[in-house]
């Protein structure tokens, strides 16, 4: 038996496989396909203080082995979440983490305060990297001072696990990672989507209502892997890697690069059972390679 458990700076995961925010709904959408209690964790949809309608249609464009989205944090607001959704999902036998977004620091703080009161939510993922909203979002994640400011403010009010999710649209990701660690992050997740664009040559129009959107899927894996490697070397807190993970082999690559856990996003759309398969695949890889504890893989890249 391979030991797949991970201690993510106090947050206990039964295995390193989590689902990425905005790609797994509230988990409910996947219940017909597999038992989500098999997962290490679920990052629920991006949640904001107030209800948000998100961006206008069209919000999605396919790209070479990837996709652009411009959802724009559509959600009913954190109070609706606490009242109506939380009761439905709180007893799932996995870590249900809330992905928190905002336009101002005050937004983030107030949202985190509401989530802090929800007993069965063991942590939040602070999204300082959403490229699809006009205010806030990515802007916070692209400079050290603003990233630190929002993390410090939330840290003051949020008592449980504070994961901070970085934007890849920066010159120096290691610097930002170190900054948010200094500001009190318990773990760091990356990457959010790369800012991209798609055009229909025939109609000469952008394919997204917002012109630019967030790129995800297999295409971004090399960039994500590099950034995870850079951040893992720059910080002491655990790193949660994502970006283009489609298979167990991809997940292992991220762990070798230094990720203690991983998240799977876009792949869920193509195979709703993919995360269960990745859990199995991690176990098989460890068994084949004689790895007894999966933690032995973390950062085990041989240079």
């Amino acid at each position: 038996m391979v030991d797949l458990t991970i201690d993510l700076n106090g947050l206990q995961l039964k295995n390193p496989v989590m689902t990425a925010s905005g790609t797994f709904g509230y988990g409910e959408e996947f219940m017909d396909f597999f038992d989500i209690s098999r997962l290490g964790g679920v990052l629920v949809k991006g949640t904001t203080l107030e209800h948000r309608e998100g961006n206008a249609y069209p919000r999605m464009a396919e790209t070479p082995r990837g996709m652009l989205n411009a959802v724009g944090l559509q959600n009913k607001g954190v109070r609706y979440f606490a009242e109506h959704i939380y009761p439905r999902i709180k007893d799932y036998q996995t870590n249900m983490l809330v992905n928190v977004s905002g336009s101002t620091i005050e937004d983030y703080v107030q949202t985190a305060e509401v989530v802090n009161e929800l007993d069965k939510i063991p942590g939040i993922e602070l999204n300082i990297s959403c490229p699809n909203v006009k205010e806030g979002g990515m802007a916070f994640g692209t400079s050290c001072p603003s990233a630190m400011a929002v993390v410090e403010a939330v840290r003051k009010v949020y008592k449980k696990h504070l994961m901070v999710k970085l934007s890849p649209n920066v010159t120096n990701i290691a610097e930002i990672g170190a900054a948010v660690e200094g500001a009190g992050a318990d773990s760091i997740s990356l990457i959010n989507t790369l800012l991209g664009m798609a055009i229909d040559a025939k109609s000469r129009r952008p394919l997204l209502s917002t012109v630019t959107g967030g790129l995800s899927g297999a295409a971004v894996k090399p960039v994500a892997l590099r950034m995870v490697w850079q951040v893992a070397q720059a910080v002491k807190v655990p790193v949660v890697g994502m970006g283009g993970i489609m298979t167990a082999t991809d997940a292992i690559e991220f762990m070798l690069a230094g990720a203690s856990a991983i998240q799977v996003g876009t792949a869920n759309f193509i195979d709703p059972c993919v995360t269960a398969k990745i859990v199995d695949g991690l176990e098989n890889y460890c068994a084949e390679q004689g790895v007894e504890k999966i933690t032995d893989l973390v950062g085990a890249l041989e240079l």
Partner: protein, 256 residues
């Protein structure tokens, strides 16, 4: 409704013309219940440019043989690959997805389709007939060649046709067909699926004549089952997912 993911076996690929095929897919075991208006998400294998699944309506269902039919119009790499599937091949589906057409307001129904939008109307027609409601179809195309799978529709009810070039049926768009061009059309319920401009014209027509109208929308979908929130339509209640709240909407519910 419970959703599934399964490998189906292609048992038949009927080529209708240069751009349309009907695939008959067999479930490995017992096909679960599926409703008219629902769709499947097809995984397209061996296609370098097709990253996501492709949504395709359920065209017909045969519970006796545990098969369903998909009517596919080849418009890009994904649908072209589907058009190349051969008996014996495997086709992985996530299904059944979306809501469904609901029972009509009145017995006089008209099912209006254009292009590959005729696909869900066959199963709907079969379903209505089973409920004792005689479906009438109005199918439009650019020209005669575009009027496909006619026998299947005729076996269920009356079929009217229009073509833009007049090569068959009434010349013009569906809205120009005599069945609609009276002051008091004998229609209680329109069901429609096809190009958005067509459906918008029908929705307006329905509103004017006090006819109920259900439209089946297309949209850019990444998942097809409510996980990504990419596929919204603008409704009176704000953004709603075409893949879970739709694809079928009451035309008056949409902000058209």
């Amino acid at each position: 409704m419970k959703k599934y993911i399964d490998d189906f076996k292609v048992v038949h690929n009927e080529r209708l013309n240069h751009e349309y095929v009907i695939l008959t897919l067999q479930h490995p075991g017992r096909l679960p219940a599926m409703l008219p208006g629902q769709f499947v998400e097809v995984r397209v294998d061996n296609a370098p440019h097709t990253f996501l699944r492709r949504p395709i309506s359920i065209h017909d269902v045969d519970e006796k043989t545990n098969t369903m039919k998909l009517l596919v119009q080849e418009v890009g790499e994904g649908t072209r690959r589907m058009g190349q599937l051969q008996a014996g091949d495997t086709c992985n589906l996530v299904y059944p997805l979306g809501n469904s057409f609901s029972l009509p307001k009145g017995k006089r129904v008209l099912l209006v389709g254009g292009g590959c939008g005729i696909a869900p109307l066959l199963l709907l027609g079969r379903y209505l007939k089973e409920q004792g409601i005689a479906p009438r179809f109005l199918l439009g195309a650019r020209s005669k060649d575009g009027l496909i799978a006619m026998e299947a529709f005729r076996s269920l009810g009356e079929v009217f046709t229009t073509t833009e070039d007049g090569s068959e049926g009434t010349k013009g768009f569906v809205i120009h067909h005599p069945v609609m061009r009276t002051d008091t059309p004998e229609i209680d319920q329109i069901y429609t699926c096809g190009p958005e401009p067509m459906m918008k014209v029908l929705a307006k027509y329905a509103a004017k004549h006090g006819i109920a109208c259900q439209v089946s929308l297309e949209n850019q979908m990444a998942c097809g089952f409510g996980a990504c929130l990419c596929c919204v339509a603008d409704t009176r209640d704000g953004h709603k997912c075409t893949c879970t709240d739709g694809p079928v909407f009451d035309s008056t519910y949409l902000k058209w």
